[in-house]
């Protein structure tokens, strides 16, 4: 398969209050972006267990986005600080897993930042097209 033709598969973990809202706002504003992202809705980005990210890559996701409220604005005060720490640990693990670091991305987006959500997806999709599909599991496939 030609790398430029494939639509990357991005699993995005969102929080109910900010980042899911920014995705909604992108929709309400009719901002168009590629259909690469699959949103998993959680109450807080702090719920994102690093194992969830690893399972995503293990099962063939080309990219993973961990998203939440801006630091200091977390609906649950400090949840996203944990997210940040866990994300930083995951970043280091990417090399160990044999995965390109650009496959993992962190996005802080408030519920009024629809534009930023769309731009992040467009950006990441573009980047994943350049890097190519996930080497594990031959880029998905199988149920």
């Amino acid at each position: 398969m030609k790398q430029t033709e494939y639509t990357p598969n991005i699993v995005a973990f969102t929080c109910n209050w900010c980042s899911y809202g920014s995705a909604d706002l992108a929709g309400i504003s009719r901002i168009q972006y590629p259909p690469s992202v699959k949103v998993v809705r959680l109450m807080c980005s702090g719920r994102v267990d690093p194992l969830m990210v690893i399972e995503s890559f293990k099962n063939g996701a080309d990219g993973v986005m961990v998203t939440g409220c801006h630091l200091g604005d977390c609906h649950y005060s400090t949840g996203n600080y944990r997210t940040k720490a866990r994300f930083e640990a995951l970043q280091k693990a990417m090399k160990l897993m044999g995965l390109h670091p650009d496959r993992l991305r962190l996005l802080w987006a408030s519920a009024s930042e629809g534009q930023q959500w769309a731009e992040a997806i467009i950006d990441m999709t573009e980047r994943l097209r350049e890097i190519g599909p996930n080497p594990i599991n031959n880029g998905g496939g199988g149920k």
Binding site: V11, Y33, S112, N134
Partner: protein, 1126 residues
């Protein structure tokens, strides 16, 4: 959990064409029908409609469905609707998941229907995987506290509070200003009927103030909000007005005597108000407030904490005796220190950051001199306190430290005796400082103040021991005998004839004795004593006087103006040199050998240590040497028994100044080894404090510290600020300076002093001059009051913090802030207001003339991407039309032009207002002015614009330009939003849960939003929002209970290893207990799940977002890649 008899129903919504226009819904429904566990799948037109919901319920019953997935719009809108729907059909509401195929699919992938449909299918598959594992959950009920808090006392907040209170709920109305009323209270008239704003609002404000169910907390801010719906805990800071609200009757006599004026924000800068003020006559509560920002930096810097700002403020008002009285609250030495103080206050003066620090020392000198010239020093004697008659205090040493101590103790009613060994008191002020700096009679008269007060000063009386004082019946002793001995240089030849030591040299001159001085004098040292010795030597006839100092000019400890004066008198300074030997001939000075120095590394004082340069010796031709390298304490008999420090000075406790002997305290140079006069005064005052406590048998330390609060941000009104330097102080003629001991510095004249006082920035605003206290008959003023923290428990919170106007100095093309006659709508509102600064006449700022032509420029800062404010201010058109009509009604001959891009006249009454304005002759030009220029002679303005209808270029001269400015959220709104976790929009306004259907709900249950904090709006809209928010709050509180979402964490104690990783990360402290008792308190848990993500044993998990429920969804999401590849 996951059963083989899971029967999932999938419903794919068309949402009309919103989804179906992009996604092939029937195909998606078919796909879903083929998924494992799905018992039924269909597509619907509008799932959320009555019809749609009925269908869902029917299917649940018909097909025995036990799980439901709806693929439609965002769950953030309708999840509650569908949950309620399935509950009605007998299914637990948590056995449901919603897939977003509208906001996340059909609306954002409109170009590619095929991929959009595929994505919809994948998202449904994810949800199906999750929903298999969902479990039934029961909602728990919590009690709702039956009271509410409204934050913000503008018209929205007032409306909300009244409705809540009338419904019977205890309501706390919290307002940050001293009065409620917000923006509306400051308006003149309101459109479209042009009612008088305060006339209609005033009675409503009174009702709020008097309502038995409203707790009005004005001048208060919310510091912290904790809790959850039905149970909020607020910490409110009630700022101190420094006035007892129940005693103040609003008479205003305090305002009349207050000497501090600042720009009045309630008049939008067009007028001033006093530090003690009432925002406007109809203020509720109708009480005065003192605006005190802290302690001015000058006062903090002064070691004795003289209230500088207060005496300067009174001086400015020409109340010279009252100003002097303020100085004398601290010490009697206004004139003495006015001449010799090192003025640390001036170093910290805020004005110094702009042009030049205030000449503070010369100002209090002026006050003392003024008194001398108008009747002389006259102080009332103090009536001694009979109860203290036996508590005699002895002060040994009549220098500044001892005298300051006597001053304070005498004023407390103690019988004080000062023992002075010399023939006259004053210490180094009398015997060290030369007369050309401090004339004798100035010092004598100020020491005389103490005598007038009743202090006994015994001169020519040397005290030999502490015991003899105790025998004489003195109950406490203050030792302040100074450090009058000069330090020796310890070089060869120091004992020769012609070598003097500064302190004894100056003492001899000050005693009137003759001193033989040669023609070529060298003075060794760089402190004030060296300068004094050098300038004295000059006056005694020396032709050549050279100061030899071992460091450089920057390190000289002497007062800079003294050094300057010395050089003006022809005295030379040789830097970086020090003597190594004094050459003698016949045991008299014949010359001096010196060595050059360079500056090395810094020593303990921070100054760079001088290091001799080898082989750089040189000779100086001198016949007199005066050594001025420091002071020492003499080992007096008096000091026997008192513990010395390792430097030979008297050892005392740094806080209480107590020595090792009971009842004996020490201060001044005898402790410090050589400090400034003001430092000595400060220690004398501390000793007085200690002695007073000691004699009253009260703890010496507790509560003794004077509370000085530094000001964090000193506000300076930069628009009215003008650079202006301090006056140069007149000095004696040079010929007299070199030959006589007449006073050199001649001080400021009255006009100069008053002008100098006007430069004071009034940093603290209220300066505690206490003139208000003197005139307040109900005794309502207390400057020691402090902020109070009030804790409130409420069930609902309404946020109505309002907005503020844009400052148009940012868009420089209109000249606001530079040209006098360019003002804003808000300012014009005050000018036409009968209660405003011009009593209702629209006089223009430059000449107070009524203009002949007024121009309005609309949309200043609004609809403007350059300043990131591309929204309409909602009221600008109506406001300007209203003001134009107001002007035309009162002054029909004034020509009025409005430059607007559009006229937005919406709703009933506004088109009529526009027509009325046009009929009255108001000219409306469709344009956006590019620039406003000023005509310098008349201060009139030229407006450059292009008429967009005719294409004509216009250049119109006008007398007054009014800018219709943009509206922005208050800074307080941003802070509060952060504290309460409220979402804000791109422009900083609060964000409602849904712009159409939930305009007063926030995303936080129990927190409602009202008024202009949500965005620019007019008064009726703000009132409506306030009432709507109140209704929302009432709906929450009335049932008494609220159902809490059962989405909280749970611990399996079998797996838990008590590692505390979960409790460490929990923001709510919801985890408690250990071992088998370990559990999550569900009322506190808010359901974020951060604990579950970090548990190494998978022991703690989040209900409804369990690991087993999420992982299948995530894996399904990851695996969808294969199908998407072309």
């Amino acid at each position: 959990m996951s059963d083989s008899d899971v029967r999932i129903g999938v419903f794919v919504c068309h949402c009309g064409l919103n989804i179906a226009g992009t996604v092939d819904c029937p195909r998606v429904a078919e796909y879903a029908g083929g998924l494992d566990g799905v018992a039924h799948s269909e597509d619907l037109m509008f799932a959320c409609s009555d019809d749609g919901q009925e269908t869902i319920k029917k299917r649940i019953r018909e097909m025995g469905l036990n799980r439901v997935v709806v693929a439609s719009c965002t769950p953030r809108t309708h999840e509650p609707v569908f949950r309620a729907c399935i509950e009605e059909a007998g299914l637990n509401r948590y056995l449901y998941d919603q897939v977003n195929i509208r906001e996340h699919v059909s609306w954002v992938h409109m170009e590619d229907h095929e991929l959009a449909t595929l994505k919809a299918e994948m998202l449904i598959r994810m949800a199906v995987e999750r929903v298999k594992y969902l479990e039934p959950l029961e909602r728990k009920a919590v009690d709702v506290i039956q009271s509410a808090a409204v934050i913000g006392g503008g018209v929205a907040g007032i409306s909300a509070a009244l409705d809540l209170a009338n419904a019977g709920f205890e309501t706390h109305l919290i307002e940050s200003r001293p009065t409620i009323g917000g923006q509306m209270a400051l308006l003149d008239k309101v459109f479209p009927q042009n009612d008088c704003a305060i006339c209609i609002l005033g009675p409503i404000m009174s009702k709020v103030g008097q309502h038995p169910k409203i707790n009005l907390l004005t001048y208060s801010e919310v510091d912290d909000v904790q809790g959850y719906v039905g149970n909020f805990h607020l910490k409110v800071r009630k700022k101190s007005r420094f006035i007892y609200e129940d005693k103040c009757n609003g008479c205003g006599e305090c305002e009349a005597v207050c000497p501090v004026s600042v720009s009045n924000t309630y008049e939008f800068g067009l007028a001033t108000r006093k530090a003690i003020y009432r925002p406007f006559p109809q203020a509720v509560p109708n009480k005065y407030t003192i605006d005190k920002r802290g302690t001015a930096p000058c006062r903090i810097a002064c070691p004795a904490h003289v209230n500088v700002q207060a005496f300067v403020a009174l001086l400015r008002e020409k109340k010279f005796d009252e100003a002097l009285e303020v100085y004398r609250r601290t010490s009697p030495f206004a004139g003495t220190l006015g001449r010799v103080c090192t003025n640390p206050c001036q170093t910290e003066c805020e004005r110094g950051k702009y042009d030049e620090a205030l000449s503070i020392r010369n100002l209090h000198r002026f006050l003392a001199d003024y008194e001398r010239e108008h009747g002389g020093v006259n102080v009332d004697p103090i009536t001694p306190d009979k109860k203290k008659a036996k508590m005699k205090v002895a002060i040994v040493g009549g220098g500044p430290s001892g005298l300051a101590c006597a001053y304070d103790l005498a004023r407390e009613g103690y019988p004080v005796t000062v023992f002075e060994a010399r023939k006259e008191a004053g210490g180094l002020l009398r015997w060290g400082i030369p007369e050309y700096r401090l004339p004798r009679d100035v010092l004598r008269d100020e020491i005389g103040i103490l005598k007038q007060m009743g202090v006994t000063i015994l001169t020519r009386t040397k005290v030999e021991s502490i015991d003899e004082l105790k025998e004489q019946g003195f109950k406490a002793v203050f030792v302040a005998t100074g450090a009058p001995k000069s330090r020796m240089m310890r070089v060869k030849g120091e004992k020769a004839k012609g070598v003097y030591h500064a302190l004894s040299f100056l003492d001899r001159v000050n005693s009137g004795k003759t001193v033989a001085i040669g023609q070529k004098v060298a003075v060794i040292g760089g402190g004030n004593a060296a300068i004094d010795a050098a300038r004295t030597a000059r006056r005694l006839g020396a032709k050549k006087v050279t100061i030899v100092y071992r460091r450089s000019r920057e390190e000289m400890p002497a007062i800079a103006s003294e050094v300057e004066a010395a050089e003006q008198e022809g005295i030379k300074i040789k830097f970086l040199s020090t003597p190594v030997e004094i050459l003698t001939a016949d045991k008299a000075v014949s010359g001096m050998k010196c060595i050059k120095m360079r500056l090395g590394t810094p020593d303990e004082s921070g100054r760079r240590r001088p290091v001799p340069i080898p082989d750089s010796e040189f000779k100086m031709s001198v016949d007199t040497v005066i050594v001025a390298i420091g002071q020492e304490v003499t080992q007096d008999a008096l000091l026997t028994g008192l513990e010395p420090s390792m430097w030979g000075t008297l050892e005392v406790d740094p806080v209480t100044l107590a020595t090792n002997m009971k009842g004996v305290f020490g201060g001044g140079d005898v402790v410090s080894g050589g400090g400034t006069a003001i430092e000595a005064v400060a220690t004398g005052k501390e000793a007085a404090k200690s002695i007073d406590r000691y004699l009253r048998k009260v703890d010496l330390v507790e509560g003794r510290e004077e509370i000085l609060i530094p000001i964090e941000n000193i506000e300076v009104d930069e628009t009215t600020f003008q650079m202006h330097y301090a006056p140069v102080v007149r000095a004696l003629s040079m010929s007299k300076r070199k030959s006589t001991f007449e006073e050199v510095e001649l001080g400021l004249k009255e006009k100069e002093a008053v002008a100098e006082a006007e430069r004071c920035l009034s940093c603290a605003i209220c300066c505690e001059c206490e003139k208000c206290v003197e005139v307040c008959k109900p005794e309502a003023i207390d400057h020691s009051l402090r902020d109070e923290i009030i804790e409130l428990d409420v069930g609902a919170v309404i946020v109505a913090t309002g907005l503020s106007a844009y400052d148009p100095s940012g868009t420089r093309e209109f000249g606001y802030g530079t040209f006098d006659n360019v003002i804003t709508n808000a300012q014009l509102e005050r000018l036409t207001n009968a209660a405003g600064p011009t009593q209702g006449k629209p006089k223009r700022p430059s000449d107070h003339e009524v203009p002949k032509h007024v121009s309005f420029v609309q949309c200043v800062g609004s609809r403007d991407r350059r300043v990131d404010q591309d929204y309409c201010c909602y009221i600008g058109c109506a406001n300007s039309l209203k003001q134009a009509v107001q002007i035309k009604e009162k002054f029909p001959e004034i020509e009025v032009t409005i430059y607007a891009m559009d006229i937005r006249a919406h709703g009933p009454g506004y088109e009529e207002l526009y027509n009325r304005a046009r009929e009255m002759g108001v000219v409306v030009i469709r344009s956006r002015p590019s620039e406003v220029e000023e005509v310098p002679e008349t201060k009139s303005l030229i407006v450059y614009a292009e008429d967009l209808y005719t294409g004509e270029r216009l250049e119109t001269t006008t007398d007054l330009v009014v800018l219709a400015t943009a509206l922005m959220p208050n800074t307080e709104t941003a802070e509060l939003a952060q504290k309460m976790k409220l979402s804000t929009s791109k422009h900083g306004f609060l964000m409602e849960a849904h712009p159409k259907l939930r305009p007063v709900d926030s995303f936080q249950d129990g927190v409602f939003l009202a008024g202009a904090a949500l965005g620019p709006m007019d008064i009726p809209k703000a009132v409506a929002y306030g009432k709507a928010a109140a209704a929302g709050a009432e709906a929450l509180m009335a049932p008494g209970k609220f159902f809490v979402e059962p989405i909280y964490a749970e611990i399996d104690t079998e797996l838990c290893i008590n590692c505390d990783l979960c409790s460490d990360v929990c923001p709510y402290g919801a985890i408690t207990g250990r071992g088998e008792e370990r559990r999550v308190m569900f009322e506190l848990c808010q359901g974020c799940g951060t604990c579950a993500a970090g548990c190494p044993e998978h022991a703690i998990d989040m209900r409804h977002f369990r690991r087993q429920q999420l992982m299948p969804e995530i894996i399904a999401a990851a695996r969808t890649g294969g199908e998407m590849v072309q």
